[in-house]
């Protein structure tokens, strides 16, 4: 580990569990909930955020000494918006169907609070390399929750994972369906996203008592 000092590794691993952007910092919830009905969409969203946050953090960190603090929010927004336009155009070119599913939520990466939160809290006060690691760490922590929620919702809601029928065929009654299992279509509806995230938070805080809030 010559490349990463102990402090640097902490930057990456911390947001994965104890300082997770979604469940602890309460940032970037909107997209986490809205596009997780399918696993594929959640993976693409995670990768997009990884790109935007990693690159954006480096850019802001490089510019941190020349940005006047009064207009920093607008500068940050322009940087994010530029990166998001790139992501949006790439998605439209190479995965058109998927970009339709994600609809406005790719655009909403701009206002994803994780990005602004990390710019404000980290990139404005740290060097490019550390900012890059911090961006990657937070984006992976975000992606982990997204993929977890997407996994459960797609598996229980339509019995598939990435489009493959892992639980058997619901029409021909093979696999689990032979025992009378039915898809829980409710998992695909929006309220269940909230409840699944709530349950993940419950599990996480039961395992680590230090995270429990006052009320």
């Amino acid at each position: 580990m010559a490349l990463l000092s102990k402090k640097d590794t902490k930057l990456i691993t911390d947001p994965l569990t104890d300082n997770n952007p979604i469940t602890i910092q309460v940032l970037g919830i909107c997209s986490a909930l809205a596009i997780t009905a399918e696993l594929e969409a959640s993976i693409v969203m995670s990768v997009s955020v990884l790109f935007v946050l990693g690159v954006g953090n480096v850019i802001i960190s490089l510019m941190r000494n020349i940005i006047p603090s009064k207009i920093r929010i607008i500068v940050q927004l322009i940087v994010v918006a530029t990166l998001v336009i790139i992501v949006d155009l790439v998605l439209k070119a190479f995965a058109y169907e998927l970009s339709k599913t994600l609809s406005v939520f790719v655009g909403l990466i701009i206002t994803n609070c994780i990005i602004m939160g990390r710019f404000e809290a980290f990139a404005l006060g740290n060097g490019p390399w550390r900012s890059f690691l911090d961006g990657i760490g937070n984006a992976v922590g975000y992606g982990a929750i997204l993929i977890l929620v997407g996994f459960f919702r797609e598996l229980l809601g339509s019995g598939t994972l990435l489009g493959f029928k892992v639980l058997g065929d619901p029409i021909e009654k093979t696999g689990l369906y032979a025992f009378g299992y039915e898809n829980n279509g409710f998992m695909l509806l929006s309220p269940m996203a909230l409840i699944v995230v709530g349950l993940i938070i419950w599990v996480q805080r039961s395992r680590n008592k230090a995270l429990i809030e006052e009320n």
Binding site: T23, V26, L27, G28, I29, C30, S31, L33, A34, I73, I74, L77, I78, A81, T82, V84, I85, D88, L89, S103, V104, G107, L108, I110, T111, N112, C113, M116, L189, S190, P191, M192, A193, L194, I195, V197, G198, L199, I201, W202, R205, S206, K209, I212, E213, E214, N215
Partner: protein, 244 residues
């Protein structure tokens, strides 16, 4: 009628928090007290009411494909819609700055209680989401876009008001320790979202359930046809086409 329909639709059926999860970050962070929740909710209504029509104008006369036709014929083929993210966010950031200045001038106490969250409206996904949905749903007139902005603002306001009231009360109940705070808020929001889904049938029986609306349409059409033509042929034809 069109306005009324869009208004109620954007408040209850397409509620920003419960149907599309927009503005969740500030919804979760500022909903601990009713007073601050009301302040932020009002600010969101105002900003949405201003930015959505403004962005509608931008979209209509600058960004859309062929929108630049008013400049001259050679501009008619331009499509600047890839710029919409930047243009929309610039409008929003400007408007938020303006609101901040006005609030600071006229209500310093509200300004202090909102604190960091006022500038955060600029990065509240509800605001940008409102403009992007306005664009993707192709709202036809500026009046309707104003209705849409105000309606979705009120929907967001209602949601944050309700959750803030519930969170004030929940302090007196014994929630499992690990679920306290964020966890229970998520689950309550989920339950509220289930409640709001029942509004889906309020207008025309809901858009998504096309099968059911078709059946309703058939049963409504048949008596009309009977009165007008009074032949069974038309009726069976009608049923046949509807089945297809």
């Amino acid at each position: 009628m069109e306005h009324l329909e869009l208004f109620f639709k954007s408040i209850f059926i397409d509620n920003m928090v419960f149907a599309t999860f927009l503005g969740m970050c500030s919804y979760l962070a500022v909903s601990k007290k009713v007073a601050t929740a009301v302040g932020l909710g009002a600010a969101v209504i105002f900003v949405l009411a201003v930015t959505v029509p403004l962005n509608w104008l931008l979209d209509q006369y600058i960004l859309q494909e062929g929108a630049l036709a008013w400049l001259g014929e050679e501009y008619a083929s331009y499509d600047l819609s890839f710029l919409s993210f930047i243009m929309f966010i610039a409008t929003i950031a400007t408007m938020v700055q303006l609101v901040e200045i006005i609030v600071e001038k006229f209500s310093p106490s509200l300004y202090n209680s909102l604190g960091i969250f006022l500038p955060l409206i600029a990065v509240n996904c509800a605001i940008l989401g409102g403009s992007l949905f306005m664009q993707s749903r192709e709202i036809p007139t500026i009046g309707l876009s104003l209705t849409y902005g105000v309606g979705s603002g009120i929907g967001w306001f209602l949601a944050i008001l309700a959750i803030a009231a519930i969170r004030e009360k929940i302090r007196y109940s014994s929630v499992p320790p690990a679920l306290r705070g964020l966890g229970i808020t998520f689950i309550i929001t989920g339950l509220m979202a289930i409640g709001f889904m029942s509004f889906g049938g309020m207008l025309t029986g809901g858009d998504e359930e096309k099968k059911e609306t078709k059946v309703v349409a058939v049963s409504k059409e048949i008596p009309k046809e009977q009165v007008e033509e009074n032949t069974t042929e038309v009726l069976s034809d009608n049923l046949h086409t509807n089945k297809q």
